[in-house]
Symmetry: D2
Subunit: 473 residues, 4 copies
């Protein structure tokens, strides 16, 4: 974005909001770095404008109203065993993944097995991110399915009288938050669904606002082209009627060396790891889009290394491949990249989705797994298979699919790096986000609530003797 500014364009950047969970978990804060930042970084990485807290509050109000309904006579005849609505919190707290609530007798309600997701994976987050306005938000919240009656009918948030209060809690959260880059380009930072366990893109409202305000809109999708980008193109573009002009793929020397399975790096490792880049380019091309590869240069990367990455990208069919030295040089360092992007957007692309929306659920999942991930096939565990039948019977088979899958591999198995082949994607469960408008397929062991590592980032965060925050980035 700063690069587009540097070549005289008026871009608007659309970013996701940070979640406190990973900030204190595995990776520390996120809002760029060096001379390529949006500011104020400290606020962006902590509570910011409180949107995530508001989303958590709305999510949990629905849960509390549901429990209360069960206790106070259960007039709707909700079958407790059918309840799929979970609580959420913006924290990496694995102990909350699977819990029993309502212990201690009648005063505490009915005993049930349930759990918390991280807020970024909540359907309420998804709804705020795809709602077009306050009324659409209200309608989608009301359409959330929390479970079923003993008679088999879906129970919605509307039926529980929850949608109004949830909407009021989310009134401010629906508004995109405007910040700026270090060089003054506007950036809309709004909503924070993770790209592995959620749909991984900032809000549709932000995108639509940005399209009105700028000449170029750069919208960020989480993780690789198999994750956030796939979901942007198959889910968000469908929901919002969007059509992208081109795709920017970020590559780094370090990442290719990692995929080349050579911790000490070297050109040979990069060549081996380029298979991963090649696969991502194939994914982009599979959507009928052009890909510009941005080689993000880190201190220590040699000219030889970055040049090799560029060359390999071009060999593999990239429309262009340019260095991005924004970290060290700000917008000027990304000017060539920006020119390449502008060039790539000149011709209208022949954009196409991975699957037709009216394909059977199983076919849609198989299409993503085979055409995007490169899998041989999918394997549906019993719960997943039963859910497919249930959802199809309930007319929920015309929804797009949001895969919950590890971002550490193109496959569903975090241990398979580079460009794995010959694998089968295991799908263990499927959830229906009837308010957001898609089905979430849980692959492998992917959890919707992360855990903390043995030495989490929180250990190093503190105030110094002047009261300033240290250790956050």
């Amino acid at each position: 974005t700063q690069g587009l500014g540097a070549i005289g364009k008026h871009p608007v950047l659309c970013l996701r909001e940070a979640s406190v969970g990973p900030v204190f978990g595995i990776k520390g804060g996120a809002a760029g770095g060096g001379y390529a930042q949006v500011v104020p970084m400290e606020d962006l990485n902590l509570h910011f404008t409180g949107d995530l807290h508001a989303i958590g509050a709305a999510n949990n109000l629905l849960a509390a109203l549901l429990e209360s309904h069960l206790l106070h006579g259960n007039a709707l005849g909700i079958d407790p065993l059918s309840i799929s609505w979970r609580r959420c919190v913006d924290m990496n707290d694995r102990a909350l993944r699977q819990i029993v609530v309502g212990l201690g007798g009648r005063a505490n309600g009915y005993v049930r097995e349930t759990g918390f997701d991280i807020t970024a994976a909540s359907e309420v987050m998804a709804i705020v991110a795809v709602a077009r306005d306050l009324f659409d938000l209200r309608r989608r919240l009301g359409a959330i399915t929390v479970g079923h009656s003993f008679a088999g009918d879906p129970i919605t948030a509307e039926a529980l009288n929850a949608a109004g209060a949830m909407t009021v809690l989310l009134k401010d959260a629906l508004k995109p938050n405007l910040v700026q880059t270090l060089e003054g380009q506007p950036a809309l930072v709004h909503c924070g669904p993770f790209a592995n366990i959620a749909h991984g893109n900032n809000s549709l409202v932000a995108d639509l606002v940005a399209l009105k305000l700028g000449d170029y809109v750069v919208t960020e999708s989480g993780f690789g082209s198999d994750m956030g980008m796939e979901k942007f193109l198959n889910i968000v573009c469908r929901a919002g009627g969007l059509s992208p002009s081109a795709v920017v793929l970020v590559a780094t020397v370090r990442a290719l060396e990692h995929h080349g399975d050579e911790p000490d790096g070297g050109l040979a490792a990069i060549e081996r790891g380029a298979a991963n880049l090649r696969r991502h380019l194939e994914i982009v091309h599979g959507f009928g889009l052009k890909a510009v590869v941005a080689v993000n240069r880190f201190p220590g990367d040699t000219d030889e290394e970055v040049e090799l990455v560029r060359r390999l990208a071009l060999d593999d069919g990239a429309h262009a491949a340019e260095l991005n030295e924004g970290f060290e040089r700000g917008g000027q360092g990304a000017a060539a990249l920006a020119e390449a992007v502008v060039d790539a957007t000149r011709d209208a692309p022949s954009f196409d989705h991975t699957y037709p929306i009216d394909a059977p659920i199983e076919e849609k999942i198989r299409a993503i797994a085979t055409r995007v991930y490169g899998a041989d096939d999918i394997f549906l565990l019993k719960t997943a298979r039963e859910k497919i039948d249930t959802f199809a019977a309930a007319g929920l088979d015309r929804l797009p699919i949001c895969m919950a899958k590890t971002h550490l591999s193109l496959s569903h198995d975090a241990a398979l790096t580079n460009a794995p082949e010959g694998f089968t994607v295991t799908v263990r469960d499927i959830r229906a986000y009837t308010g957001a408008g898609w089905l979430v397929a849980l692959c492998g062991d992917m959890q919707t609530m992360p855990g903390l590592a043995e030495r989490p980032a929180a250990f190093t965060v503190d105030i110094d003797e002047d009261g300033r925050t240290v250790g956050l980035f």
Copy 2:
């Protein structure tokens, strides 16, 4: 406060922040009403500046770090059965009072029985409310005891490397939030501990700032003189070295009729219910303070009724008793009351506490129960008795006591209205808030997490066709 402004003074009002729990629970919003308000009311009643969410996040980060420590080798040798730290959320969610976490195998950690409190009852809330500055906050957070090692040593948040990150999460929450009354007097709205299950007063920082800025500081304490006021005088004044000038007791016709056990009201009911007012006056006098009774007039109260209340208050020893018609008339309607308050503060009071700080724990609890509540005695259940022994052995017996007691009665039993006598206060458990600096005595069935009623306030909250919030107040 508006009354003090009307008579030419420069008061500063200190209020507590609203919790979303009760806003959507039993009572709807709170920030005054009619012409006696602080604004903006909608924001004040919802997320406001996000302080409560930040407190919840800090509380729950500590919980997540604790679970993570247990799972990753438990280097501190923490005995899971000794853990007293609970999670919190700003919601009335009874199902979370008593839960089992960590189900589902090793990936989800060790299985434990625990629960959530409402954020307003969290020790982190208490700490923010009594911390003097950022460094005091940091120190107090580190001094939180989450449990004990197998060897019997206390485990603190500091030992878990949690205090630094918690402080960073609370940096902004420590700052008082400045709003104003409808007539422009400054109001500091900061922290929201409930007065039944927590210590029930806004922050010490707000009080200290207000004392520097205004000529009169009006600080609000929750519920009756047995609740927030007792805790302000015995806990906050001790922690902050404060000495109040006078006490304003609020009385209403409706409340006395309620205590007079006559739903249809009438003068006889008021006379009977005045026993409750008399008891509150005795409590104030017991602290060596003067009491000004503010008779808050509601639409429909007759002159005869409000006059009777005034007269009964004076009969019972009030320094003064004046009508407060702020709701209908703004500051002018409270001018006489303001004059009375100014008058009451002329002489230095002979302020005294209910108990000496170095009395044994049991004696301190008994002193509050008998001298403030009017009980005959206390009855310690086994858990409470064991905790007293444990805390005394650990040198925690020199801390003040924060009673968690129903606000619906002067006793611990919500069913006993007016001025009950001959009752014994049951204490079932005691918690040590080593960071905040007091012990919490749980009386009767008092829960630290409220529940929702059958028809909670949330049912009526919604947006209208113009997108405006309705039903919140």
Copy 3:
């Protein structure tokens, strides 16, 4: 019993069956010792004829049928929160006291909080012990209340179609088991309710059979006169229309020294500890019965010590007090005791109960606590008070009371030895045994499932190199 045989009588002994729980728990086996035994001891202490296992199976079949009913449509509309029926196992397994069942999804049924009691405390055990015949057994099993419907109606085992199958499982268990003493007197060993947490007496069927067969029936009641004897006289005698002729109180030098609080013993300790014996004599006299004190002599007891015990017993009003040297000398060693017992039974006693059966529940509990235990008063915790109201409303207030109380003290507090005074008995909960026909009042912390100590008796039980059992007694 062997003593009665030695003086030419034809007594029948009625004993309880051993529970595996305590056999492997704190105390090892029980069936007498030395020359005063019933045989075969090893079988008596292990599974014996399997009666306890059968009782456990019947108890747990009802539980399984109940869960199944809930899962398969819950046609009776049972409120899961109202269920009071618990499972049982003949094992000291504290971890099963409070559990959550039904985790893991629909295939495993509805999630509920419940627990296991030791089989000896099960209502099924109580029912087998008071049933008059197979048809009475069938009727009583059907009358068990497992919980209530949402409409508030009691749900019985009959309504669940469980009573027939339970009866079939218990057909053999209802029959008393005939063994013999070392000297050939018949002994009926049947049923094993504990005397602390259950009603503490062998079966009514055994008593009735013995009354037909022998000229004297010696029926054993567990623990002190405050425990098994009180329950025999107030519950079993009422249920069976029995009237006892006299009471034999067992005293030992060791026990009085223990109550005299002097582990090294000595005459002074015995004198102090005699207050405990005196209290037991008062209890017997309170029922209008004569007491014969049997001083069970152990190896090491001096003549002086046993004589002192005898003298103190007579001073305190015992009808007689004689040495019982059955352990070392068999029946001959108890001949004098037997003569004294025969003498005591010559006149018809003026037997009376502790409370009239139609007194209010609270009064009956108070009567036992004050008149038998010597308490000042009782303190009903909230749950107990609510149950009293519920049971009274359901017409269950005309049932006798079975106290679940520690046997280690005359009070409800195991730490108070000898003859405690000035204490208040805390009652925390009450259960209705509608099949057995009484209410169980849970006092203090008394648990209906014991735990294992750090070094339980099971550690020493094994087979030797010849395959013989060692360490059981």
Copy 4:
């Protein structure tokens, strides 16, 4: 067996003991019927000699000692999350499959997630069934692995001091129980492992005793040749050094019609369903054994039908196929069958196992699935794969495999009747029975604790007006 008696042989029959679970669950009692029975049937179907209760007690004593060890200092450093030992009860109680124990605070021990199996699936049952004598029993019980230490070492029952007491509880249960057929042939009824979730054969001790006593030993294996027989040949024969002479396969008209998918029956259905019989014959032949097909004739079967079954069996390679009319005619009705069996045993068979004992775990499972069940392949879920690695590292890979699989299909999917093809057997978990000496592979959704159906057999069991048991068979 009665047939062998009828032709002048001296056979000994070895049967399994009945479990109360299924007796009151889906199918009612089992011990033959009509003129082919062992007696006394009522006792055989209820508690019998109490062996199953004793096994349950031993199993649960180990659990109680384990919990007690955790609570009292955990000197062995057992990691609670590693504990695999479960409790058991002889009841179909699905709610106990997955439970949380130890709730309610320290007095009740550490909170853990665990569950109950039906006693028939307990490793203790397996151990009693394969132990050669009391000392072997003692050694095997001590070798049970209950979990692992934090350091990763296995924790055995021996380390917990439990094996001695468990052995003493099982002393009588180790002895086979001698009953007789209606025609007087001896029958040893001993041990009752289910053939689907356990190893499905009566005890080795019974087999060895019978081999000494009779000229022919007929030992019963549960369900089809894919279930009990496979386990007898691959597990029991290995453990006991046995070599069978021939196999009797039972076929019925009704079963073949069921597999022919024609509820109304008919010759065409039998022909279709014969594919199932053919597969079983192939399985027997795969072990190098001869198969004699016994066509059990039921009332209503036409001559044409039974003759068709016979002919189809012979077409498919059965050594012989004869009618068994024992139900209607006693031993005489099975004389021809007996002759055929005697004939089949004349030549020594070339008996072989399905897999070499030192094949890798995965290969052994695959061999059973493909060579016995006819599957294409196996699919190991993550937990199963991890266990294989763990067990292999611990040297447990040289043990035979006991498959826990539905008996309703030759596959792992109960819905696939007749002779399914093209299926993949899903293995979700593996347990190590280090005392019994094999690994248990859990296939599909197979549960080690059955549930009760909506209308279980228990509903019809009762006593009649004369006190006789009705509805049990």
